[in-house]
Subunit: 239 residues, 8 copies
Amino acid sequence: MKRSELVAALKDFPYKDLRFAKVDTHRGLRRDFAEVIYAKGKTPADIVAIARVLRESGHSVLVTKLDSAKSKSVRKELPWLTYFPEARIAASGFPPRRIGNGRKPEMAGSVLIVTAGTSDIPVAEECFVTLRSFGIPARKIFDVGVAGLHRVLAHRKQLQAARVIVVVAGMDGALPSVISGLVGSPVIAVPTSAGYGASFKGVAPLLTMLNSCSPGVAVVNIDNGFGAGYLAAAIVRNK
Amino acid sequence: MKRSELVAALKDFPYKDLRFAKVDTHRGLRRDFAEVIYAKGKTPADIVAIARVLRESGHSVLVTKLDSAKSKSVRKELPWLTYFPEARIAASGFPPRRIGNGRKPEMAGSVLIVTAGTSDIPVAEECFVTLRSFGIPARKIFDVGVAGLHRVLAHRKQLQAARVIVVVAGMDGALPSVISGLVGSPVIAVPTSAGYGASFKGVAPLLTMLNSCSPGVAVVNIDNGFGAGYLAAAIVRNK
Amino acid sequence: MKRSELVAALKDFPYKDLRFAKVDTHRGLRRDFAEVIYAKGKTPADIVAIARVLRESGHSVLVTKLDSAKSKSVRKELPWLTYFPEARIAASGFPPRRIGNGRKPEMAGSVLIVTAGTSDIPVAEECFVTLRSFGIPARKIFDVGVAGLHRVLAHRKQLQAARVIVVVAGMDGALPSVISGLVGSPVIAVPTSAGYGASFKGVAPLLTMLNSCSPGVAVVNIDNGFGAGYLAAAIVRNK
Amino acid sequence: MKRSELVAALKDFPYKDLRFAKVDTHRGLRRDFAEVIYAKGKTPADIVAIARVLRESGHSVLVTKLDSAKSKSVRKELPWLTYFPEARIAASGFPPRRIGNGRKPEMAGSVLIVTAGTSDIPVAEECFVTLRSFGIPARKIFDVGVAGLHRVLAHRKQLQAARVIVVVAGMDGALPSVISGLVGSPVIAVPTSAGYGASFKGVAPLLTMLNSCSPGVAVVNIDNGFGAGYLAAAIVRNK
Amino acid sequence: MKRSELVAALKDFPYKDLRFAKVDTHRGLRRDFAEVIYAKGKTPADIVAIARVLRESGHSVLVTKLDSAKSKSVRKELPWLTYFPEARIAASGFPPRRIGNGRKPEMAGSVLIVTAGTSDIPVAEECFVTLRSFGIPARKIFDVGVAGLHRVLAHRKQLQAARVIVVVAGMDGALPSVISGLVGSPVIAVPTSAGYGASFKGVAPLLTMLNSCSPGVAVVNIDNGFGAGYLAAAIVRNK
Amino acid sequence: MKRSELVAALKDFPYKDLRFAKVDTHRGLRRDFAEVIYAKGKTPADIVAIARVLRESGHSVLVTKLDSAKSKSVRKELPWLTYFPEARIAASGFPPRRIGNGRKPEMAGSVLIVTAGTSDIPVAEECFVTLRSFGIPARKIFDVGVAGLHRVLAHRKQLQAARVIVVVAGMDGALPSVISGLVGSPVIAVPTSAGYGASFKGVAPLLTMLNSCSPGVAVVNIDNGFGAGYLAAAIVRNK
Amino acid sequence: MKRSELVAALKDFPYKDLRFAKVDTHRGLRRDFAEVIYAKGKTPADIVAIARVLRESGHSVLVTKLDSAKSKSVRKELPWLTYFPEARIAASGFPPRRIGNGRKPEMAGSVLIVTAGTSDIPVAEECFVTLRSFGIPARKIFDVGVAGLHRVLAHRKQLQAARVIVVVAGMDGALPSVISGLVGSPVIAVPTSAGYGASFKGVAPLLTMLNSCSPGVAVVNIDNGFGAGYLAAAIVRNK
Amino acid sequence: MKRSELVAALKDFPYKDLRFAKVDTHRGLRRDFAEVIYAKGKTPADIVAIARVLRESGHSVLVTKLDSAKSKSVRKELPWLTYFPEARIAASGFPPRRIGNGRKPEMAGSVLIVTAGTSDIPVAEECFVTLRSFGIPARKIFDVGVAGLHRVLAHRKQLQAARVIVVVAGMDGALPSVISGLVGSPVIAVPTSAGYGASFKGVAPLLTMLNSCSPGVAVVNIDNGFGAGYLAAAIVRNK
């Protein structure tokens, strides 16, 4: 096969060109989960147009980092979207019509979402709604930071039963190290920008988590509840 | 004792589960001071619910980093809270009903709170109200920065009489080094975000204080008047 | 159960006290993989003593970040250790005597280790030897950085077949985003300190990876091949 | 020639002194493109005064980083300016009256502007309008980030045909490395502040781009679409 | 009293002028502990000269951050100094001849020094020797990091009995938060430069500790075991 | 003279205690210029009270970083203050009643204030008004940045005639190096927060200036026009 | 064309698999210049193996960042390499056998390399040898920093004649702004790690250059003379 | 005068072209002090060649940052240089043959150099030798850090008599603020890299000094004793 043929072939990969956006309608096939719409820096009209392309090609729609004002404009056009204000996500109808390539994912276990404090809850909810929109059940344990260690120890059974644990924490970010030391499952750590002063909007817990003295911890971006949910989904689904 | 029994035992440690929060009602016993409510990232309803749990279990209530607007909603529900606007703290009635485990702390000495400038006063007040809510008396000396050294030297007797000195300073953060060099007592240094440009919202005084050429200085987070007060209380109370 | 009983119970948790170290002989049971010895900051004598405790309690031994000179002293005492110079790991005999709690892990899939450049190979080898010492097979694809994209595209089938992909990259750290966009599996990204100038010893690829535009990527510490291997193992083993 | 004569001579270099500004009316001659007005930190009156001097000396006028409110005041005085809201630029009439020294630049090739996401479009538009105001045609390809690699590969022919490629990307900033690996032309990389958390307002893509594993990439300031356009113009025009 | 008299009076404050150094022989009186010699950047001859002045004025001598080579030269001149290689301290004879102002400090309680890992031991030893040279007894618990939480919980009684706890930790720096949550005593946290990559030579644990979610923690400089010991001494001695 | 006498003497140093502030009425005598009021973090009432103390003790009054809204409240109480909106300074009547210790400073030369761009003018004006309030004449040259080098070279004579040159620049901060290379006088460099992206609110020009390849440059804080003016005054006045 | 066919086609793209390295023998065709060997993190044996593959497929060989010791081992095997110690480059015979795709590049102009100081010369030489190995002539002007502006002004004619100017500077990094203001050509700025203290190993000049007040400047990595040369080559060659 | 004439004129400005260096023999005339040789990054041969040019054109020679090994090679060739090992400077014969333009500078006052600790002495000596090589007398007061405030207060008369004070300090960098508060003279603050941990090689004192709460302080680069001396000379000489 010649070089020119290859370039031609690559052009046949499916995406929908909206000029300002190239919607990757092939992603559901390639990655099992469809393209997700990141709302920041997009107008409501942009979001609506992309969401329609995804919907029309038979995918679930998930819009993240969507603030309340923008959500109103979007849902006026797309009433089939449900808005979760704490998670700042709009998602298409539950149960999800089609996850990824249409195969029902056979789960390899369950996801547990834990927060250190109450300020970390919105990020945890973003993670939770992401998982739910993928058709993956998850449980939540909130406010079990290390300042009162018995609160986390009291949930030890649930921690050890989970297939994957997402730990959301700001300030000192110490909880993922502690939890990881108690279990054999992978821990996805999400630093949050909760805190002030030398937390530097999440840098402090981010560094804590990257330096966890307990192996088995991986880290995603500050406040990235969606990314943690996506990764947890990729771990628990069976191939 | 077997592993399963231990896990069961840990579950019996007291905390009150409000779903979004697990109130550590055991903390007063364990640490002598009850759990404190950090208001940032919590709704007024959250704060009210947690405060009630603490109150009902016989503890003093202290709400920190509470802005003026939120304080109004909270006090409509909990009129027994007093709000200190400069300190941004709401605290239950004075004198405190119960500090920690109920034992009246026998003080090992007194606390002195010093600021370098007038901009540092709100953080100093946060420290002061924290101490007062724990039933610990403290004195204040404001605006004795090193640009006019005789102002701090004039208070030398009070400095040397104190059991613990909290020094609050922004900008160059030089005051804790100077004061520590004059006394034998521990100095708790609180950097503030007062200043501009290369103060980087408190990073400059934070680094100054961590590098104090005079030993006997420890540092808390930027603007963390509450933490300084808590620590001072832990030092002066007798065990 | 009373508080005093609980404290007593906790004391019965197994660890071996060597004064300078408390070897967590209980970890294999709790986490499926035994405690691992981090060699930096430890003398050869320290390492030998800890390794013996682990060996005697029936665990595999894994010593990481062990430089060549120190490895000689250690292996004089412990000839049953194999040293892997590129990975800077010493590990007890292959096949592993006992992984974690003795259960042979039933693998949920395979691990693929990919590097962007040749400078990233030592970190990838650290990951590989870690997995091998846990009895988990892994494959390697080296030097397929994005400057010659067809090299990574040529391995697309292997990438899509893997259960977990570890991507090791320095400099721009762009490879994990690209690979993650091609597959549905979780990607563990390991930034390396390869590079110079504004790579700031791995900070540049670390930030790139945390900000991956393709979801499904999690990040471990700079040069932390061991941590990536540990996490991959936690993902692929069945519970 | 004596020192005093030299100083005298230097005074004869043309600029127009407006007290608060010294308009460099000589720049068109020296650099081929006239002085450009950076609107931040200038009042509408300042901008109007400088624009008039440039216009009167026969140059095109380009005002960058001009927000919508300020543009209204400016255009009330200078109705011959066209405002491009997405690019935040006001420019004098199209086609440009005079570019630089009046010579029509003979182009050495064409410019292609590519963005990784839709959030990067305003910066790309700033680049586009800059080029257009210099009389240089440019093409745009938006939203071809590396999460869906086939979208960028589908444009391979256009990429390889361009004389210069401007690549605008936030978040992981991986696109310039990928594109540069596909072509022989110089790539100008523009990091954007799109993103959140550990993108640190553009620092993450900035570092990615500076560390590109593919040579042939140069970087301009974060969000500096104008600078990228200016540089592209300097490359494609013939001397 | 006039200004000129004051200046004259200040001159009478005792210090010994060695030209390159002004030894503060008054410090013992003012601060209860005599001046301490920081060895970095000083020649052996410098150290010897200063130590002699202190000795001659009846004080204990403590030399910190003294490496092994330099200690040999110093002790050739001053055989009455004992060198502690792990702590990198040289101190005058035990028991101390005179602590501070000669009053035997009546201790208000005991000091406990805890480390997270074995790499943190040298910093803990620096703290321990400092306290011992001041005549203050201290106990040590090493290697009880949060990855094996039962190790720290097993020492709960000792932790709760201590008047002050010094916690030394590198990497994630999570141990001070955990310990502080268990006790009522003040916790002095010492970040160490143990670790690699994103620990940034101690910055990660420093930030963790400054952001401790458990109040009652104060922080000293990275690797500053001496400073922690000095502060602990200032807390436990009675005034 | 005994220690207790000294402490007593120090108390006699003049300052006025307003509880929230200790006004250093002795500063004019000690430093030749009276205490200056930094308005940030002070209420209008604070400012009024301090200004009255200074005025009553016969000093000039200078209030810096005073925004327009606050200036109105202040001047309602203190109509003898003049407000300079661009410099954000309020100062007592011109000509100054009393500068420092009342001696008319015999000037050792003149001050020249130069800016690189028009955005730097407010900082330059802060410097200018500061000097003027001290009774020191200064000249201004604005907008002579290095992008059009002939503009600065055209002012070479004025540059070489000045006793001190204050150079105010944001963005690349290159102007102080260039000017310092042309003259023998000291150059005080003031970085400004003008700029965007990788200027990091003035960090970029700050570093440029600290690393000037031309000796004779000293730097003050970002946007600190007042500090530059104060320092220039200290240099030009004769002792 | 089906997906499976595409993957097959991609496999046919030419690269040579050496296990530890995948040599991109297709790069010369795609990018006009062949793959370059970055020596850091590679053993001499690695370098020799890769160089042979490139040589055998008819390409020029360029090895960068090659220190003197390693160069000896390499050249023992590959005597046809010339080593340039100051540039730390080894290159195959001059004149180059084949540049990129074999077409003699028709140059669109000449390259001028300028340094601010003598410490910047090694980086400039790396740039120079890179260009020479591509068959592109370049001229050099060294040590014309802005502290003696007449030195750079004296070369104004040469500066204005160049098609591209590479400016290499450490410390304040001010030279690219100054030169760019004098010419119409693109300026490639290379920050160097020359300097000390607050130059932070090249961060200071890097930021200066990114914030150049004179448009037309693009920046490459610190000390990246090779990258600047590669980019300059991409600009001057005709397509 | 026409443009071409100007360029010609600029060429006549005196400098000596050594290819690798352009020695600015005009600087003595322009700036009163001759060009100074920065030894880092230069070979002994480079230094010798430049020094000869300066000597031959009748200037004093000053070589800074010259380590001991290199000084030997240099002085073998140039025996008329004196080497000051602590200051790491080599300077031509004392008294200086010619300072700047030959005019004997009429001093406007004296310079005082103060250090906080003994580790700061080498930087202070660099400043002292610089001043001495310019024929300017200076006095030194070492080791008067703020930990023992009476040591600095004891020198109050000398401090108030000085025309300029150079304050050299590492660690907390608090001394310049304190001294500036005592005097009316300008204070040049020099941060040093003495210290460890969170001093970040001088960043901590640098920030302290930039944020001095006492106006009248300007800052030079970390460890830049030469720059402080140069600036002090520029201040004290009469024009």
